[in-house]
Amino acid sequence: MTIMTDPQQESFRPSMLLNDTRYRSYTFQFIALMVLIGIIAYLGYNLVLNLRAAGLNISYEFLGEPAGYDINQTLVEYTSRSSHLTAAIVGILNTLLVAFLACATATIFGVIAGVLRLSNNWLIRKLMSGYVEAFRNVPVLIWIIIIFTIMTAVLPAPSAFRGDDPDASMILGSVAFTNRGVYVPMPVWGPGSMVVVVTFILSVIGVFAYRRYAKKLLYATGKLLPMGWPSLAILFVPSILVFFIMGQPITLDFPELGGFNFRGGLQIGAPLIALWFALSIYTGAFIAENVRAGILAVSKGQTEAAASLGLRPRRIMNLVILPQALRVIIPPLISQYLNITKNSSLAIAVGYADITATLGGITLNQTGRAIECVLLLMLFYLLISLGISAVMNIYNNAVRLKER
């Protein structure tokens, strides 16, 4: 008779920690964790020692103290007596403002340049590749400084607009380009203007709803409603009607020369314009490449199939190519938006009061609270990044190719 025995149970040996696949991953993770804890402890220990030596402690009380510096471009109420926290909020709003403006214009530049790079016009094609290569291969900081220099050193001073025979004149009598910024007419919101604004917002929503309905009808029944003029009508007619019914509550305040500078109107400071325009054309070059890649990614057979169904070129673009290309274009486009937001931190180079310049610049230098300020700054940008990537994931899931 043979005696069946279990394979002999190996006793545990230390070398198995490295050689046995069952334990090895635990060993590595344990080592990694220990190293990480060690590094953090070491850095924390040094931090405590250094702070004690400098007589500092981590405290956010400085946020409540008066900031004591002026900010030239603010979206909310701010004086030099406001707190550092208010200054930081002004900075945050300024960051969001320039990021939003730049995202919008960069998309326009990028889509135009990207589509034109695929044009069958040789000259336009070359011109657009020239634009893309020139802007992609030169640091954005240099572009920002160059445009800021144009704004401040080349444009005329406000005094050049004075006199009977001025050196410079306003465009259409309402827009002035000066070295302190651009002056444009500012809308004045009279009583009842809110109704007009609300009507306009509702019209915008209405346009989207109409186009959505028209597209649905097209896909369901093949009946094509006109898109162009009804959209325009929905967008403008109700607002204009309400505008006159309410007795023209919105008027324009034109900038006028007075004293040493322009009075009235809306001043858009040179730093904001430099940052806005530079970020737009720089990122526009990158977006152009994304758009081009997206359109090229749609196979030629799709165009041919649509053409064989008798669709006209513009319809082919709108109904066949773009919906498929968007799936490729949107994810990198949103990373470009993220890049714009992060690159807007370069505002500090031209003196635009964004969050990096207020919280990370003047507040940091005045209070000496380096750790707290930089931490808050990083937290803000992290939140923005996480927010944008959350939106991106939702969108990606919505337009993802639904495969069975």
Partner: protein, 430 residues
Amino acid sequence: MSDTHAESVAYVRDSMLPESPPPAAETGVTKWMKQNLFATIPNSVLTVAAIVVIYFLLAATLPWILNGIWNAASIRECREILDGATGGCFAVLSDRWNQLLFGFKYPSTEYWRPALAFLLLFVAAAPVMFFKYLPRQMLLFTGVYPFLAFWLIWGGSIVPPLLLLLGFVAAYVAFKALEKRGFGVAVLGGLGVLVVAILLAGSIGKIEVLRLEQVPSRDMGGFMLNMILGTVCVSLSIPIGIALALGRQSDMPIIKWICVVFIEFIRGVPLITLLFVANVVLAYFLPPGTTFDLIIRVIIMITAFASAYIAEVIRGGLAALPRGQYEAGDSLGLDYAQAMRLIILPQALKISIPGIVNVAVGLFKDTTLVSVISMFDLVGMIRGPILASTDWNGVYWELFGFAALLFFVVCYGVSQYSQWLERELNTDHR
């Protein structure tokens, strides 16, 4: 049969007509222009608009460039020579050439050292860049180059870099000796030997041999600083990026999460805030009394920044590999390190080349941001000492145009190289 047919028609041609040239409107330049410039009416409008734009661009820049002044001591002298005509004052470039390239503190007698290091960079990079066409022995010089460049640029005695080099050689020998016992053991052994060598080098490195004049890092500046930061950070961040990407793909949760948090944190904040960390915060986390060079702190932060981005690019490459490649490695009985080194990484890196080059070019451009924390790189030099001097106050276009041109040449060259490399490595036969 043919006879009957021939009778039924009046005339049948029995010789070929010679080919005649196409109508004049369908050949050569005319046809090309018709097809490429004036195909449709909107197209023609665009063409005319483009010609107008190009004309204005050239009309504005050409006289300015062609009429430029290259020899003058100050902007006033430039204006005198120009006497009201349009023309650039490029004299600032010839006057401040050395400052633009080397910064304003680097000892002028020693300019040959960074210049030589720059030239040798091409010799060192060539065998890596054109690995198919150059002998492999040249890679030895590539290995020696970092130490040589350090000695040339920073100066001092040759002994510390030499000892460090020997330390790396010893670590490599130890790695080779231990490789049979497993990749992990070999890496640990190699690292151990390296640490010992560095400690030894620190203790006996005071011997003065072949001493060059020592230049502290805060004296680096100009385009040299951009080049140093760019090359050092890119070459350091590629291996770190690979490790982070592998860590993020790993099955071990703790290691995976360390990598994920690191990558997402770094990618979520702008480089400027990391430079602030390098400038004002990092010192708090180092042992009291240690004075860390600002350049080294900046290199640490930029490297961390670049490696997070490179890790994401390589993760894309790893994810793009078909599952079968991983299974092939397993079925051959290769362990993790072998499968990665021999099968997975070469293919994943090949896929990631365009992405890695994008990150590298972006990083090189981003080195200009150090001017924000008042280091005098090329942009910092222009904005600071040169434009602030009374001699050249107001010469914006020439200086920024030169800076833009310099970056354009380097970045465009690198991106062209990467496209060439992609074609070169294209192994699928379609």
